[in-house]
């Protein structure tokens, strides 16, 4: 197990390094736009330009810049934002928690809603629940989550405000302007503000889980060992949960890892729509303002989050699937 763990971690760091290098190449080597275009005004005199380039270390040869860049990325020194002139790491430190909160709770809620619906659908094939699972799966395929969010916002924030004078859910933000001093009230306030983003994220994506669980479980239910279990006289419940569902867990864990890019994209658009102070919104604003240090750092963090989740899911795969030999080549 230890060997496997170390191997996986080394591979993850390798992938992170490749992505960081890609990041460097995109912004500093092949980019048609100068990485300092956001800060260097064309009206500057050549001396000032040169001085600025020197301050930013852009006059050094490429390989030195690359080495410095890699060292800084892996030591969490992302430089200074062009816009605010504050250290990027510092700016990120208060934005990251809200993104992680949104991402994490959306993921957990989606799985918690999706998997039971899938199980119910598979166990009662052809029932109303089955139709519902398939229907919600189609919603995931065809409906942009941001459209669901816009609809919710239109009806639960704006319509309700204009018709009845109050908002069922607030249209944006992470909390009311002076945050309540009572910690319980504060938590309730944040929950109220996060309710609509979360709800829409779950509605927009639980269907794929339901559908996936359903098809995995249907596959499993036709296997010989399920027939054996039934022949042994076990209750349907035991057969379903102990035998069939258990075997679907490993592919499900892989599915979580594969879903993370989608959830990150979804959370990014969600932060944009609902004006949440997370790194997704920060990223978009920085990109539009050509604030490259921030953009690089956020891309790196996103890659880091995804690789970390992949690593965890790989390890869980090993735990959940006893057939995988420890240390064996997959």
């Amino acid at each position: 197990m230890r060997e496997y763990l170390i191997r996986r971690i080394v591979i993850s760091i390798l992938i992170l390094w490749i992505i960081a290098s890609l990041n460097f190449v995109i912004f500093q080597v092949v980019s048609p736009v100068s990485p300092v275009s956001g800060i260097i005004n064309p009206k500057f005199t050549p001396e000032v330009k040169r001085k600025l380039l020197e301050i930013y270390g852009l006059l050094e040869p490429l390989h030195i810049r690359y080495l410095k860049y890699i060292r800084n990325m892996f030591t969490w020194q992302f430089g200074f934002s062009f816009n605010t002139m504050a250290p990027v790491a510092e700016e990120m430190s208060w934005r990251l928690p809200s993104t992680v909160l949104l991402l994490g709770s959306a993921m957990v809620a989606t799985v918690i809603v999706g998997i039971p619906i899938g199980i119910l659908a598979a166990s009662r094939r052809g029932s109303k629940m089955d139709v519902f699972a398939i229907g919600s799966g189609l919603v995931t395929w065809g409906v942009p989550i941001f459209f669901i969010q816009l609809l919710f916002m239109l009806f639960f924030s704006y319509y309700s405000y204009i018709m009845w004078g109050f908002q069922i859910f607030p249209a944006g933000g992470m909390g009311t302007a002076p945050p309540p001093s009572n910690p319980l009230a504060y938590m309730a306030d944040v929950a109220w503000h996060l309710a609509m983003p979360l709800l829409t994220l779950v509605i927009g994506s639980f269907g794929s889980w339901a559908l996936y669980t359903r098809s995995l479980l249907l596959d499993a239910l036709t296997q010989d060992y399920v027939v054996t279990a039934r022949a042994k006289g076990l209750t349907e419940r035991t057969v379903l949960y102990r035998h069939a569902f258990r075997s679907t867990l490993p592919p499900m864990v892989t599915m979580i890892a594969l879903n993370i890019p989608g959830i990150i994209s979804g959370a990014m658009i969600t932060e944009w729509i609902f004006n949440l102070p997370g790194i997704g919104r920060w990223y978009l604003n920085s990109l539009m303002a050509a604030d490259y240090p921030v953009v690089q750092a956020v891309l790196f963090i996103y890659a880091f989050l995804m690789i970390f989740a992949n690593l965890v899911s790989d390890l869980m795969y090993g735990v959940l699937d006893p057939r995988i030999r420890v240390g064996a080549r997959r």
Binding site: I15, I18, I19, I26, F27, S31, P32, V33, L138, W141, G142, V143, P144, F146, F147, L150, L151, M153, L154, S157, Y158, Y159, I162, A171, T222, L258, P261, I264, S265, M268, I269, W272, I273, G280, Y283, L284, L287, M288, V295, V298, L299, Y302, A303, M306, I307, N310
Partner: protein, 476 residues
């Protein structure tokens, strides 16, 4: 087709296609999806003929945030008018002698006989029978030419209907002038200069006050000539006098914040979504097939390298990276297609690879190899045709992803600014106040269009998958 294939081959292909159609016909949901798809394709093809307005340029078709035209069936909106253009024809009030041409162009040829000031007055009447509007636009063109030693001035006045509170509003005036001049006059009620000229307050909107009554309004155009000598003369041409009152309802889907027709934007958006979706899917499927077949057939180092590349690509945060690339390389529809395709081939490549891995070991490939067939021959003649059906189903299934991706890109403001897309409509709706004005007709239609188009592809793709995919067929 007939020119490419021999007769035997044509028969084989037509049998294959008809057999395939026989199977596909049984899938109700697939047929339903196909029907929606055909509807959208037809819509995309006939877009320029069924949409009355250019989707991008033509604003001010009606009021800002005008409701859809059919909203008038509801009692509270019953008296909401549609846009109306009043074509105005001048009648002479005073100075008939000087008018030499009537009709579309009115020509006034002034020739001084005495040294007195002469007024030529033209008037036109129109009846306004709607509720007070929020805006109006009045326009005409005039030119003064053939000018000799005279001073002239013009003014246009609007008289409200006869009655005790009849008022007159100065719409526009040209102060006394001694040189030739010509201009297109646009009088806009929303223009602050116009508001100030009439003496309204900052917050006041002149339009509903001016047109507060129903009835016959009169426009009066007065031309005043002040000759310096007895040979003074001047010719004034008047053209295209129009009054446009934007409606509170408009067309099938109403208007956006600039008064542009939303139905036109929606229909034109169909083209972009279809083209982007299909193009992305074709490009990414081609990459996927090539990579899948090569890695599956050759195996070894190529396989290992490619699969690691797939692993890395699966670890990339697609949307942020895509946004960055689009931002750096320009918001161009071509780049968007390429970038989306680059991120979309991994799944298909893996699937094709596994298919090829099993096909490689089958007897007929071995026979071909034994018969001395080259690698290219085996790949092109045996492997590719065998994986194509599955690849095709997966291609159709990957279209919605591309459409959604492009919509997300456009929604975030990273779409091609030159083309109308559904994502961009939503972007504008979000950014330009559709929510505070509760303009659901700006938010719901584009979203529904994306949804139905994607679902159509999903329906067709799933049905295709069931027909061509042997694994799914067995389970049934």
């Amino acid at each position: 087709m007939a020119f490419i294939f021999s007769k035997e081959k044509r028969i084989v292909y037509s049998r294959k296609i008809s057999g395939f159609w026989e199977e596909f016909r049984r899938k109700k949901i697939g047929l339903f999806g196909l029907a929606i798809l055909i509807f959208y394709i037809v819509l995309a093809v006939v877009a320029p003929w069924i949409t009355p307005y250019d989707p991008i340029i033509k604003s001010r078709q009606a009021e800002d945030f005008a409701m859809p035209g059919w909203m008038t069936i509801f009692p509270q909106y019953r008296n909401y008018p549609a846009s109306k253009e009043y074509l105005l024809y001048w009648n002479v009030e005073q100075g008939r002698d000087f008018i030499t041409n009537w009709g579309e162009t009115v020509v006034v040829e002034y020739k001084a006989q005495t040294m007195t000031t002469v007024d030529v007055e033209l008037s036109t009447k129109f009846s306004y029978n709607e509720i007070p509007p929020n805006a109006f636009y009045f326009k005409f063109a005039w030119t003064a030419s053939d000018l000799e030693s005279t001073e002239y001035s013009l003014r246009v006045t609007l008289f409200t209907p006869e009655g005790e509170n009849r008022t007159d509003w100065l719409m526009w005036r040209q102060p006394a002038l001694k040189t030739t001049k010509g201009e297109h006059v646009y009088v806009e009620s929303v223009n602050p200069f116009f508001r100030d000229m009439l003496g309204f307050e900052m917050q006041q909107n002149p339009a509903p006050i001016i047109f507060s009554q129903k009835g016959e309004y009169t426009l009066l155009l007065r031309m005043r000539f002040k000759p310096d000598t007895k040979t003074a003369r001047c010719q004034i041409d008047l053209e295209n006098t129009q009054l446009f009152v934007p409606g509170r309802v408009h067309g099938v889907l109403g208007c956006d914040d600039t008064g542009a027709d939303l139905f036109s934007q929606l229909v034109h958006g169909t083209r972009i979504s279809l083209v982007i979706g299909v193009l992305c899917a074709v490009v990414s499927a081609s990459i996927g097939i090539i990579v899948g077949v090569i890695t599956g057939y050759f195996g070894g180092l190529v396989d290992e390298a490619m699969m690691r590349l797939v692993d890395i690509l699966l670890c990339l945060p697609f949307l942020p990276l895509l946004l960055t690339l689009v931002f750096l390389y320009g918001k161009n529809i071509f780049y968007i297609v390429i970038f989306i395709a680059i991120f979309g081939w991994q799944g298909l490549a893996r699937m094709i690879r596994s298919q090829v891995l099993s096909l490689r070991e089958t007897a007929f490939i071995e026979c071909a190899r034994a018969a001395g067939a080259s690698r290219t021959y085996i790949i092109m003649k045996h492997l590719v045709p065998n994986v194509l059906p599955v690849a095709f189903a997966s291609l159709v299934l990957s279209v919605p992803g591309a459409i959604l991706f492009e919509a997300a890109l456009s929604f975030l403001g990273f779409g091609d600014p030159r083309v109308p897309t559904w994502g961009k409509m939503l972007h504008h709706a979000y950014g330009f106040g559709a929510f505070t004005r509760l303009a659901w007709w700006w938010i719901i239609p584009p979203g529904l269009a994306i949804t139905t188009l994607c679902l159509a592809f999903v329906f067709v793709g799933h049905s295709l998958d069931e027909v061509v995919n042997p694994r799914l067929r067995r389970r049934r």
